[in-house]
């Protein structure tokens, strides 16, 4: 691929900004905020060892929010940048604003932007912008070779996918925020299906980051090892069993769920089980959960200088030594209850208004609760090593039941066989209270950094 296909080509965002502002001025809009994205991505998929698709997606557009003195607020977006689309979009958003209900809780869009920015070298890699398709195919091929280097008759299919993209984000608003940042992303995934007679299973591993040098092709072999371990399933006894969460399960079930429940919008809408619990103890003293959008270590998966409203991102402890320390806010929820905006307005792209979300989540346990990985299982005679679930908790009540989609039996302090279909049930507050210890090898799963976690137990329902 030549360079022009991955660069941001001919879009002049400042000229577009001027046009948008000129249109907004025509309608005497009091407050506005524009979020513009210009990006290109290259994706390659390999299926059963053979290249299946290669694609280049070039995407550009902007989303605009407007508000008046009465707090009527509306959003509109367009994937076009031409004058006619700008005119229509502004006309649309102004007319939609008139349809909104009056909201006395709306005060203003974001007012303070980032004064210090992340070093571009941490989040932007010119090598990704200039990647040639042959280089990308070579990475994919090397990943396949890595997977094939594990010679095992049970390996049934190997699928690899590669993604690389560059994006410019540009935010400006009527409170004089005007800020932009370029970033790149890269990811290499390998999914392996294994088969033994009628038993079939699959697992994956991936490597991702912001620079090409962060992805490693040994993800192929790692995926094969993971998949092979899932063969030979045994059924599980039912009951309240000791459980150890793998890092990927811990990231989702513990860190992710707490961050989701700490969303200030959910709190204000009375849709979260953490409502009314700010400043209260919700977990053991040794548990701290941090949201660090300025993380410089690990994959830097969601590292960025400003959020989807242009506010500076900041590092905060959601849970500090067991105490629920802060909710995650955007400008609206912060203004509504008159607290500091935590800069957690996230945006998928220009086509949706901001929503509250964490960036890089870290489970940071106190030293006293950390043991060596091999020590974590010690003393468990019969328990479950819980690796994955596709289920999500009921955030209103904190009740959480579902299926363990990947898990292993722990017998006499060691991981033994993979487990057959089993379900679990708990309440997230009970789950937090039952955390006993952590291992000393935190892992990074797409920007969520967690060790393995040992719990007193979960209600498990198995077939035995």
């Amino acid at each position: 691929m030549n360079h022009e296909t991955m660069t941001r080509d001919d879009i002049d965002e400042l000229a577009i900004k001027e046009k948008i502002e000129r249109e907004l001025a025509r309608y005497r809009v009091k407050q506005h905020e524009v979020f513009m994205v210009i990006g290109t991505s290259l994706n390659i998929d390999v299926e059963r060892g053979s290249l299946k698709t290669a694609e280049i997606i070039r995407d550009a557009g902007f989303g605009v929010r407007v508000a008046n003195e009465e707090g009527q607020c509306a959003f509109s977006y367009t994937s076009r940048m031409d004058s006619e689309a700008i005119k229509k979009t502004i006309k649309n958003v102004v007319s939609t604003m008139g349809q909104a209900t009056k909201d006395p809780d709306f005060h203003s869009f974001a007012s303070e932007s980032a004064t210090t920015k992340i070093s571009p070298s941490l989040i932007f890699d010119p090598e990704i912008e200039n990647i040639e398709i042959d280089d990308a195919v070579q990475l994919v091929t090397a990943t396949l070779d890595s997977a094939r280097s594990i010679d095992d008759e049970h390996v049934y299919s190997i699928n690899v996918s590669f993604k690389a993209g560059n994006t410019r984000v540009f935010v400006f608003n009527s409170n004089s925020i005007e800020i932009s940042e370029d970033h790149t992303d890269v990811g290499l995934d390998c999914e392996v299906t294994v088969k033994d007679g009628d038993e079939m299973n699959s697992d994956y591993d991936f490597s991702d980051g912001r620079a090409l040098s962060q992805v490693t092709t040994d993800v192929g072999a790692r995926a094969v090892y993971r998949a092979l371990k899932t063969l030979g399933k045994v059924s599980v006894k039912s009951g309240f069993l000791p459980v150890v969460f793998s890092p990927r399960a811990a990231g989702y079930v513990v860190a992710g769920a707490v961050a989701l429940a700490a969303n200030a919008e959910s709190i204000q809408q009375e849709m979260s089980f953490l409502g009314g619990k700010l400043g209260e103890k919700i977990a053991p003293d040794f548990l701290t959960i941090v949201d660090d959008p300025r993380l410089e270590a690990y994959s830097r998966h969601s590292t960025c200088s400003f959020d989807g409203e242009g506010s500076s991102t900041s590092t905060k402890k959601i849970v500090n030594a067991g105490i629920l320390d802060t909710f995650l806010h955007d400008s609206y929820t912060a203004n509504k209850v008159n607290v500091e905006n935590t800069g957690n307005a996230a945006r998928g792209s220009y086509d949706s208004p901001p929503h509250i979300s964490p960036f890089n989540l870290i489970i940071a346990p106190d030293e006293s609760s950390i043991v060596a990985r091999e020590e974590l299982l010690k003393g468990i005679e019969y328990g479950i090593y819980f690796d994955q679930t596709g289920d999500s908790p009921n955030m209103t009540t904190g009740d959480f039941s579902g299926m363990i989609s990947s898990g292993f039996l722990i017998e006499n302090g060691a991981i033994t066989s993979p487990i057959e279909q089993a379900t679990f049930g708990t309440n997230l507050l009970e789950l937090l209270a039952s955390i006993e210890s952590f291992d000393d090898k935190p892992e990074d799963n797409a920007g969520t950094i967690t060790p393995s976690i040992r719990l007193k137990g979960l209600h498990i329902s198995g077939n035995q």
Binding site: E55, I133, N159, S405
Partner: protein
């Protein structure tokens, strides 16, 4: 960037691709407008309107797909996009294994013509103000029903889009369709007990053609469900005989069977149903089909994203696996006929094999008889979500509420019931299918893409379903 008003000639772009040496090319150009509204605590949050357009160009070179997408649909933009696509196809062809190479068969009948299901301007027939007022009225209905209602969250999503598909084999089809999707979530609270009830309304066409009374019925149902759940108990874990209602039954058919029948999963070596055509995989009363051609159902598509007219495909007949769902590629590689199931979320996504409206055919039990006949079990109603892992053959879905059945009588109300099972076992475990039938529309996610689908089912009974829950 200011030259986007000219109408590009798509045939010229296709010819350009062929000149570049590709074997096959298709172009999808989408234009759309949307109106979305979120109502919370009687206030609009995130009220939005949108408009946009974009094009995706796919080229096949020696069995390798190149794909490029752009939001610049001027002739220059499309030419560049076309060249990128062909360049990718050419660069990749050397990495396609010989046995994976395929061509698009000569005898495929691609769709042509205009399918105007919704006319341009229909979305604007009802003003935004009226739609906001309607949602505020729904909020009021729920609040007036009980003082325990603490919050009513309404997501009102209306869209209208035109999608044009042209390919190098003569497909030339234009689809103009509006859709409405409303999700109502009612939160009720009594002391510290917080519960919610949820209902969905889906409709093909814009809001001007929808029946508002159906949404009012839905908000009442959501409120009643929330109120009922205040008294519900946690479900005990274990293996149960389960009767599922129409809505849950539909999700069951979609998750437990539909996904595993998608031929791209078969080709990728990721479905437990590989090499199972013609084998008995379920009880003789089980017949399952997919049919995107019914315009009354939310999974309706006149033709798929590859230009294949939609039609009925039998997946399971009298317990025997009869067929898979196909797109152009899977049909070609497996020497089958494309079934019209190649669907993309939007212009910037490659089509994947997807379901449309998937249904289990009714049989002869009366629902009341089925309940009476169940000595010990669960009657599970409505769904929260579901998912499947076709390679493992396991599926899982969660229902909002269930009632314990004891000696054929409905007794204790239960909440948040998680059901799971094995694809290859569960259809054998169905031992009673009722004569009623109901459908529900929704959105299905796969490979990062979401498409609208419809699931249809009678009530039916399954033995030995593993249920997750908490001991109380």
């Amino acid at each position: 960037m200011d030259n986007q008003d000219e109408e590009p000639d798509l045939d010229t772009i296709v010819m350009h691709a062929l000149d570049l040496g590709v074997d096959f090319c298709d172009i999808r150009v989408d234009t759309w407008q949307g109106f979305n509204l979120e109502l919370m605590k009687s206030q609009t949050r995130n009220i939005s309107s949108s408009l946009g357009h974009g094009a995706g160009i796919r080229t096949l070179v020696d069995g390798a797909w190149g794909f490029a997408a752009t939001t610049d649909i001027s002739t220059t933009g499309l030419m560049k996009c076309c060249e990128n696509s062909a360049k990718l196809g050419n660069a990749c062809k050397n990495f396609v294994q010989e046995d994976k190479k395929f061509t698009i068969a000569d005898d495929i009948n691609f769709a042509t013509g205009n399918h105007v299901i919704t006319g341009p301007g229909e979305m604007d027939e009802v003003s935004g103000e009226e739609k906001v007022k309607f949602c505020l009225d729904l909020d009021k209905i729920a609040r007036e029903r009980s003082s325990l209602v603490k919050n009513v969250i309404i997501h009102f999503n209306e869209g209208y889009g035109t999608s044009t598909l042209v390919n190098s084999r003569g497909a030339n089809v234009v689809k103009s369709i509006g859709t409405v999707y409303i999700l109502a979530n009612v939160l009720v609270k009594e002391n510290d007990n917080l519960q919610s009830g949820m209902e969905i309304f889906s409709h093909i066409g814009c809001w001007n053609t929808a029946d508002p009374t159906q949404v009012e019925t839905a908000i009442n149902a959501a409120t009643d469900q929330g109120l009922r759940l205040l008294t519900a108990k946690a479900c005990p874990p274990g293996a149960f005989t389960v009767i599922v209602d129409n809505k849950l039954g539909g999700v069951f058919v979609h998750e437990a069977m539909g996904h595993a029948c998608e031929a791209d999963a078969i080709l990728a070596g990721q479905s437990i149903l590989e090499n199972k055509i013609g084998t008995c995989i379920g009880n003789e009363s089980v017949t399952i089909l997919d049919d995107g051609s019914n315009p009354d159902l939310y999974g309706y598509i006149p033709a798929d994203s590859e230009g294949i007219p939609s039609h009925k495909t039998v997946l399971v007949e009298d317990g025997y696996l009869k067929g898979y769902l196909h797109d152009l590629e899977s049909a070609s590689r497996m020497s089958m006929i494309p079934t019209g199931n190649g669907r993309a979320q939007a212009f910037d996504y490659l089509p994947q094999v997807r379901m449309t409206s998937t249904m289990l055919e009714p049989r002869d039990w009366l629902v009341e008889e089925l309940i009476k006949d169940t000595k010990d079990g669960l009657y599970c109603k409505n769904w929260q979500y579901g998912y499947v892992e076709p390679y493992k053959g396991t599926f899982m879905f969660k229902c909002k509420e269930a009632v314990m059945l004891e000696h054929g009588e409905e007794t204790t109300l239960l909440k948040d019931v998680a059901l799971s099972g094995q694809i290859l076992q569960v259809l054998h475990d169905i031992d009673g299918i009722a004569s009623d039938f109901g459908t529900s529309g929704g959105h299905c996610g796969k490979g990062g893409q979401s498409v609208r689908v419809c699931d249809g089912s009678p009530h039916f009974r399954i033995n030995n379903v593993l249920v997750g829950g908490m001991d109380e």
